[in-house]
Amino acid sequence: MSVWTESAAIKAARPAAQRLRPLRALAGRVLPGLLFCALLAGAWQYMAWSWNSPLVPRLDAIGDELARIVASGEAALQIGVTLGRIVAGVLLAFVIAFAIAFASVRNRFARAFFEPALLLGLTIPGLVWALLCVIWFGLSWKTSVVAIGLRVAPALAINIVQGLEAVDPLLIEAAHVFRLKNGQRLRHLWLPAILPFLLAGVRLGFSLAWKVVVLVEVFGLSTGVGYELNSAFISQNVAGVLAWTVAFSVIVAAIEYGAFQAAERRLTRWKRRASV
């Protein structure tokens, strides 16, 4: 009887444990990050309380400023403008990077030709591209897009080259033997094989692009998060600077967790099907 009872209990408990597994996995991913944010907020509040200065505003002041820019619709508008510039700039960077990467992998001369350009591109700070593009293009959408494209493309190109070189030559040979067409090779061999490098490249591209676009918006544009940050800075509104930073960071985190990580999990699900 006791054996029957224990077995039933185990059976009853199993589905519940299985149901809770995704929740546990989610908690395992999210809770450490939330803990960090809570500790950071606590430390900030303690610093604001002990300094008691408008230069270190309390969390409630930052919260009020955040609520104001969100309620007025300014946050959505300006963050949308900045994100649009980032997306366009990263797309341009991808086009440049793919062209350089494919040429470099296929042709030894092209590789040697582009190598110094990539090294130079990696070394030049985003500030230089921002200043040059403001001078060249003035108050134009091209300013931010070109500045981002030039800053991000070298890092992206190196990532793509590494991805292309990591493709298993035995699979390339199998594709050749089975006479796969060029489109099939691109879709089923090259893109899946370089996908981890592409995803890393997109993340890197967005992080670099954010730094460049803010500089461009500070120096030469009258819209966007960078412009708003600069406006708050000029009026010594530290709570405003922090509110805009928090608002944009939340959106970036949402993109990272909601889009990039979800896409990565979906596109690399075949890796998690390994038998145990």
């Binding site: 035995l170 796969l180 089923h188 075949w270 038998s275």
Partner: protein
């Protein structure tokens, strides 16, 4: 009548230090339609080079490989399955079929033939080594190939699995009857599967003996006559080795 013919083929590889290594010199061999020829010989003698030449991965320095135009359907099974890890078993086969003629009905029948219907949606990393090699066999035969090239297809598997797959390969061969070359180190495997066995020796490789395997099909892996043949081939290889 010949389905596949090597005519006076020379192939030399250049080592990284610049020295040349002649692998084949004036190599000639004719293979009849539906015939499976096993090539045995010491490591590094150029057995796999023959397959690469037949598959069009390598081109001869001199001579030619006749019978395989650019549109010929070649099924190949490698030592490692060489499946696309991001495609499930069914899609791996479908990809090759799509490249051949797009008749996707053969995907299902190929999976049935290798006993993997239940694993059609499984990704390669979730399959055992034997199951992956079954998918590779299914892929090679699903394209309705005129030629099947087998490059030590079972050497990476445990003997028990390899024995099962050799029997499976015999069945597939009798159903599809393509022309084929089997490169193997396993002389018993050669005796079990091949219609003829070509023994290579020397540098560059020369054919030192061709053995017709007259045993009735289907052959059993433990048939005594196959063991006699296996010992005979080994003796030839040892003599060729010096």
């Amino acid at each position: 009548m010949t389905a596949l013919r090597f005519e006076g083929v020379d192939k030399t590889f250049v080592r990284p230090d610049g020295t040349e290594e002649p692998v084949l010199r004036g190599f000639s061999l004719s293979i009849a339609p539906g015939e499976l020829v096993a090539v045995v010989g010491p490591s590094g003698i150029g057995k796999s080079t023959l397959l690469h030449l037949a598959a069009g991965v390598e081109t001869p320095d001199r001579g030619r490989v006749v019978g395989l135009g650019p549109k010929a359907r070649i099924g190949m099974v490698f030592q490692q399955p060489r499946l696309f890890d991001w495609l499930n078993a069914s899609d791996n086969i479908a990809l090759a079929v799509n490249a051949a003629d797009g008749d996707l009905r053969r995907v299902k029948s190929a999976l049935e033939a290798v006993g993997l219907t239940q694993h059609a949606q499984s990704y390669p990393l979730s399959l055992s080594g034997g199951q992956r090699q079954r998918v590779a066999l299914a892929r090679a035969f699903a394209i309705a190939p005129s030629v099947v090239l087998l490059d030590e297809p079972f050497s990476a598997l445990d003997e028990l699995t390899a024995r099962k797959l050799r029997v499976l390969l015999q069945d597939l061969w009798s159903d599809h009857a393509p022309t084929g070359i089997l490169v193997t180190h396993n002389t018993l495997e050669a005796a079990l599967l091949a219609d003829r066995i070509v023994v290579l020796a020397g540098k560059p490789a020369q054919i030192v003996r061709i053995i017709d395997v007259r045993a009735q099909r289907p052959r059993l892996p433990d048939a005594p006559e196959l063991f006699d043949l296996h010992r005979d081939i080994l003796a030839t290889l040892e003599a060729g080795h010096g």
